[in-house]
Amino acid sequence: MTARPSSDQPSNQPASRGGIPSEAQLETAALLALHAVDADEIEAATREVPRDLIAYETVGSLSDLVAKRPPEFLREDIIAHALSRRASGTRHNTTVPANPLDAFTQTVAELRHLLDSLRSDEWTLPAIAEYGTVHGLVSHLIGVEEVLLGEFGVNENPTAPHASSHIESTRTYVASLRDVPSSAVVSRWHASATRLRDCASEVDPETVINDNGTESTVSVMLITRTFELWTHHEDVCRATGRPLPVLDGNRLRLMSSFFIALLPMAMEIGGTPRPHKAARIVLTGEGGGVFHQPLGTEIVSPGTMLDNPDFTLTVDVVSMCRLAARRTTPEQMGAIIEGDRALGELVLAGAGVFARD
């Protein structure tokens, strides 16, 4: 080509931004964009030119001039062929949902790490209204873990009776721990959470327990605990100006698929049931996926209305989880609704019904 590449120059070298490209480089870049380089020269040419110099965008514009409608049959042929290579609904680098016990364990560890890093003055910062400060929030968590431990018959300090309200059942904890040093609060919460995990690991995940007045299973309890700890982890980060944690795809997949499956119930609880309606929900990002979800609680046979959903909702998986936790609003989350927009908005509006604080 026009210039000899040096032998130590890496292939596909990154762009040298700021450097002025030589005329020879520009020439080679134009030829590469046009695929007008002979086969025996391509390797040398690609070594010679920074990638961002190659004007694919400009050259690609030329394709508009020759746009031509393909034969009608080609569309479905291509779709069928594509789906035979990669089935619909399968994410790239498919993320499997985390095991609920592992998810809870990891989320506890991460929150512990965060709490250990807080300065003393940060404990008094306002977190969420129900519990006041960061200290109050962690006290609340102690209450939640210990009330649940009571379900396993191991709560040695039942300072609060069972209550049907998640918030009410921990109010006495928040009050009684107000003057306890933050380090002791952290230790007690961590000990409770660890004990809860141990108890959960010793029973069948499908064992039924009472979770704040709601009949649940151990497995579901662990998912909701993961959801809550992640949410409060974010609350503490917001309160203290720290970057929000980046949850791994496996836990996001666990939480989001759990939440999506609850949508029909959410709509029923919210007083807006929509039987015989369905949604295609595309959660983007690591841990996301495609969900074909009926919005009514009736039994739906596969291949019915799910094949023709009333709307498609596209939103990133983290935003969807935050919506479920009422940490974002439908307006803020940047969701895209195609199809029955009013129904889509109704679903989003009621999505936070399970959030407890």
């Binding site: 030829l31 990638r51 400009t58 050259v59 030329l62 020759v66 031509k68 080609l74 609904g89």
Partner: protein, 226 residues
């Protein structure tokens, strides 16, 4: 038949916002235009509906460039399939930080078309087909975009590109036409035009630079050619 010159004769809106407004009106208030980045995210998530949307949006570009370069319907169909199946299977490789999805698809289609015609047995067949067509003295009179592109927004874009092509010198335009639309290497362009190779390269570089300027594109880092 729409020719580049005919396209040039039509009024060209000067503001992309105008096009956006127009595109929106065309589609009606309740129909949302899914942005390309969302489309790509949906492909990654495994949403086959997104693949259908992508095909509906860019199928004519992919097929059109393949058909133009190879002049063979069967090969153009195969390339079109190849491109969309590739994107479906490797959606994570589409990085919109590097360029638009359209340019990625066009690049892919063009690359595969060029590879197809450079296989010697196909080249011969293609050259016979090209030779049997009427000799075109003015490359811009070629019926580029003759068959399709119905959407107004695409028509506007087509006119814009045609105008940019019209701004090139005849020499540059001919060289560009041979390289891009006919899939020739710069050496073949030189032979065809009976000019030195260095001149062919220079014309192509200047043509791209001029086009880039006319289109005021911000080219991103190039795609890695799969």
């Amino acid at each position: 038949m729409l020719t580049v010159k005919a396209l040039l004769a039509e009024s060209v809106p000067t503001c992309s916002r105008q096009w956006q407004r127009h595109a929106h009106t065309m589609r009606g208030v309740n129909e949302i235009v899914v942005p390309d980045n969302v489309l790509v995210s949906r492909l990654v998530a495994g949403d086959e509906h997104a693949l259908r949307l992508l095909y509906d949006r860019y199928g004519s570009v992919v097929y059109g460039i393949a058909h133009q370069v190879t002049r063979d319907e069967q090969i153009a169909r195969d390339i079109t399939q190849d491109v969309f199946v590739y994107v479906w299977e490797h959606a994570t490789r589409v990085d919109l930080g590097r360029g638009s999805i359209k340019s990625f698809l066009a690049m892919l289609s063009h690359r595969r078309s060029v590879d197809a015609i450079r296989a010697s047995e196909r080249r011969n067949a293609r050259e016979q087909r090209v030779a049997s067509e009427a000799l075109r003295t003015d490359s811009c009179d070629h019926d580029l975009g003759s068959t399709v592109v119905h959407a107004d927004a695409q028509r506007w874009q087509q006119r814009r590109i045609a105008q940019a092509m019209g701004d090139l010198s005849d020499d540059q335009r001919t060289a560009l036409q041979l390289a891009y639309f006919d899939g020739l290497t710069y050496r073949e362009v030189a032979t065809k035009l009976n000019i030195p190779e260095g001149t062919a390269k220079s014309r192509l570089r200047l043509a791209i630079a001029r086009l880039r300027e006319s289109l005021a594109h911000e080219d991103h880092a190039a795609w890695t050619v799969p």
